[in-house]
């Protein structure tokens, strides 16, 4: 064998040692929490507009508790993946927003999240707004709601100068589906070729539009979360997607397309892109949530001055929708060593000052409805939030009645095509027989739920389809904590 030159051999050896040496210790200590620098509290969320509200809060907290908060903002698409991977490698931050895709109940069961101790003051302020199965589990508080549930994604936002050109009074936006069609027709006549832009490529958002429109057409819903698995007919407990109201909502959107009112590019836009296309004047009308005002204020201030807002159009002109009790946004990791500090932070989240700061960030409306009075926000945002306060009701949530419902929904497999897919398929012309497709979706969901119920009961749970039935609930009512 050829003699390996000494120098080379040495170099090789050194490289080998270096490689081995770098591999001696596990980098994340089991059960530990990721630490950027040893002293700070790690906080991950996906609410980029909340920067100023949270920064103020964190500064104050650091002043009091002497612990710095290191915040990382993810976009929602990568947040879920980041959380999954972080949990897999024991790197969960102390606080995170729940984009696991799993219902809160199962996070609690698994110990992924931990209960926190709130201050007495905070507990007083939260009276009546904490729901067992949503915020508290076995009486222990896990999270606090910061946003109001009185919101939807289907407010009508309009470009007033284009409306004026069409001879419409911008302050008086149409409230009915027919009025909406007339407005579109007049807009086309006055030169706005395609008056309405929608994020058709964004199937989740289209699904929200559909649910809002179906509710405004009289559909009563019980809701857990916003995906199809958790949306049921409150009166029967069955999946509602083939109902009259849903079909009407589909038909309404479809008619806008067949009449040529939709900006053709819509088919490939998500909500963010659709909004900018609308803001650049290509279309006059855009459906979006209250945060639209915040985005406009941040990026298109000049354009915002000419924007008007009203509720979602509806057959009866009332535009009533409903949402279940608001989820808590922030959760404390089960692995966190800083539960006490997290409890203090969460207590701070309930203060009126924070609600005001939240309102001023103009994202989702704050849980405290009075915050808006003291917040300095553009009139457009307050108008949007006031509209929502008036027209969004509290829907019943089966998971509040029986937390095991959460486990059932966690157990259910996704059924594809889901409501968003079907919306996309029908509006894009890939589905001809809508009724058949929706019925099939309903049936598959029901079968999947039955299977999941069996699994949960088999594991010692106690849950039945009856938990989904709220016979007494009527569309347009608030289903309060005392009604369960």
């Amino acid at each position: 064998m050829e003699r390996i030159p000494r120098r080379d051999a040495l170099a090789l050896f050194a490289a080998g040692v270096a490689l081995t040496a770098s591999g001696c210790a596990r980098s994340s200590t089991r059960g530990g929490v990721a630490h950027g620098d040893a002293g700070s509290l790690q906080w991950w969320d996906h609410f980029d507009p909340l920067k100023s509200a949270l920064t103020g809060l964190f500064d104050e907290f650091e002043g009091n508790a002497g612990v710095a908060v290191e915040r990382t903002v993810y976009n929602p698409d990568s947040m879920g993946q980041a959380l999954q991977l972080a949990e897999g490698s024991d790197q969960l931050p102390d606080v995170f927003t729940n984009l696991f895709g799993a219902p809160s109940a199962s996070l609690v069961d698994r110990g992924t999240v931990a209960p926190v101790e709130l201050s007495d003051e905070a507990r007083r302020r939260l009276e009546g707004s904490l729901f067992e199965g949503v915020h508290t589990f076995d009486g222990k508080t896990f999270t606090v709601p910061i946003f109001s549930h009185r919101q939807n994604s289907t407010l009508t936002w309009a470009n007033s100068s284009l409306l004026e050109k069409a001879g419409h009074e911008p302050e008086d936006l149409p409230s009915t589906w027919d009025g909406f069609r007339t407005l579109c027709r007049d807009l086309v006549a006055s030169g706005t070729e395609h008056p309405w832009v929608a994020p058709l490529a964004h199937s989740d958002r289209m699904q929200e539009h559909l649910v809002d429109l179906a509710q405004s057409a009289g559909q009563t819903l019980a809701m857990v979360g916003s995906s199809g698995n958790g949306i049921t007919d409150a009166r029967t407990g069955e999946f509602p997607f083939a109902s009259e109201a849903f079909l009407e909502a589909f038909t309404f959107l479809h008619s806008l397309i067949t009449d040529g009112f939709m900006l053709p590019a819509s088919t490939s836009l998500d909500a963010r892109e659709a909004r900018v296309r609308w803001a650049s004047g290509e279309a006059a009308i855009f459906f979006d949530g209250p945060w639209n005002a915040g985005v406009l204020n941040g990026q298109f201030g000049e354009f915002m001055k000419g924007v008007r807002v009203s509720g979602p159009p509806s057959p009866d002109g009332r535009g009533l929708t409903a949402r279940p009790p608001a989820d808590g946004q922030f959760w404390c990791a089960g692995t966190s060593h800083r539960r006490e500090e997290v409890g203090e932070l969460f207590s701070l989240l309930t203060r009126p000052e924070f609600a005001v700061a939240l309102a001023e960030n103009m994202d989702q409306p704050p849980a405290d409805p009075h915050a808006l009075d003291r917040a300095e926000v553009p009139a457009l945002y307050s108008r949007a939030v006031r509209l929502l306060e008036k027209n969004v009701r509290t829907a019943p949530s089966p998971v509040v009645r029986n937390p095991a419902v959460g486990s059932v929904i966690a157990e259910m497999n996704d059924i594809r095509p889901d409501l968003g897919d079907i919306t996309q398929g029908y509006l894009g012309g890939d589905i001809d027989d809508l009724g058949k497709e929706l019925t099939r979706f309903n049936d598959r969901l029901s079968a999947e739920r039955d299977r999941a119920i069996d699994v949960v009961n088999g594991a010692g749970g106690d849950v039945s389809v009856d938990d989904w039935i709220f016979e007494e609930y009527r569309s347009g009512d608030d289903f309060d904590v005392t009604d369960y």
Binding site: D77, Q84, N229, A410, D414, R416, P417
Partner: protein
């Protein structure tokens, strides 16, 4: 897999006996051979083979998201796979993408490389860069630009179409055209990589040989046909395989441009795997792994069949 190793065999095997003759008997460099292989074997084992084996294991688990309990379900995920129309649809879409874009990329890449390889071509360097740059462009922003280029109402392509009285075509928004639009943008973005492969391959064509051929009176076409192309042939196999593999992992672009829609029309398998593992409301790592494994196995099978067919064709040609 064995068949693939055989495809690359010709040039490798061709060289090996030569090398064996080359290396004088008094040297036995066998230890060095293994030292040279070690980094690749060790690292590749850690970062590719191990994850592959893990995927195989994962695919037999019921595993909803990381950290959640994993329980063994045997072949349940595969049973589900067989009756999952989306899986089969995604396979078909991936196959279609490969069949359409790979020949385009390899062919156009070669053509471009042949022209751009001429060192006397003015500005060749700049031109090469121009065709290469899309490769490095951030996908998120490419999605936006291409939205404008393909815009059904005001996009330049539709304006050109309207001159001929055609269109407007809703390239990205209609399930009839979306896949083709994505493939077009894919070719645009990744042609540069194939171009690089070919440029590198062309460097192995010795200039003396071309000179000699020219002295012998061969024109450019004859030189191309009798000198350059035969020399490029073994590279062609590698380049085609590499391009196929890159194409199989078409992912970012689809996600930014169409998100797999409209109505699943661009749901390539890699996108579906990813969706199932991370994107879904309910992540399902076990099932995603099963899709991945099945996809890998089917691809290898396809490659085996292709190689066999190619060999058969070759043999027949030789017999003639």
């Amino acid at each position: 897999m064995t068949s693939m190793s055989r495809t690359t065999e010709p040039e490798a095997a061709g060289a090996a006996p030569a090398a064996a003759r080359t290396v004088p008997r008094r040297r036995r460099p066998s230890l060095w051979i293994y030292v040279f292989l070690a980094p690749t074997v060790v690292l590749f084992g850690m970062y590719t083979v191990w994850p592959s084996v893990s995927s195989l294991v994962y695919s037999t688990l019921e595993w909803r998201g990381l950290g959640l309990e994993r329980s063994f379900t045997g072949l349940e995920n595969y049973r589900r796979l067989l009756t999952d129309p989306l899986f089969w649809k995604s396979l078909w879409i991936t196959l279609l993408i490969i069949v359409v874009t790979v020949p385009l990329r390899v062919g156009a890449g070669l053509l471009l490389a042949l022209v751009l390889n001429n060192p006397r071509l003015p500005l060749a360097g700049l031109l090469r860069t121009a065709f290469f740059v899309p490769v490095v462009a951030t996908t998120a922003i490419v999605g936006i630009v291409m939205g404008f280029v393909l815009d059904p109402s005001a996009g330049p392509i539709n304006e050109v179409l309207s001159i001929f009285g055609a269109g407007p075509v809703d390239f990205l928004g209609s399930s009839r055209t979306s896949l083709w639009a994505v493939m077009g943008v894919h070719v645009w973005k990744w042609l540069g990589v194939t171009l690089i492969y070919w440029l590198a391959a062309l460097q192995t064509v010795p200039r003396e040989l071309l000179e000699a051929a020219e002295t012998d009176g061969a024109g450019p076409a004859a030189r191309l046909r009798h000198v350059t192309l035969p020399l490029l042939r073994p590279f062609a196999v590698i380049i085609v395989v590499l391009t196929i593999i890159e194409t199989m992992q078409i992912f970012d672009l689809v996600v930014t441009m169409t998100g797999g829609g409209p109505f699943f029309s661009t749901l390539a398998t890699e996108v579906y795997i990813y969706d199932t593992a991370f994107g879904a409301a309910r992540p399902d790592l076990g099932y995603a792994s099963a899709i991945g494994v099945a996809f890998g196995v089917l691809t290898v099978l396809l490659m085996v069949v292709l190689t066999l067919v190619m060999r058969l064709a070759q043999r027949r040609q030789e017999q003639r």
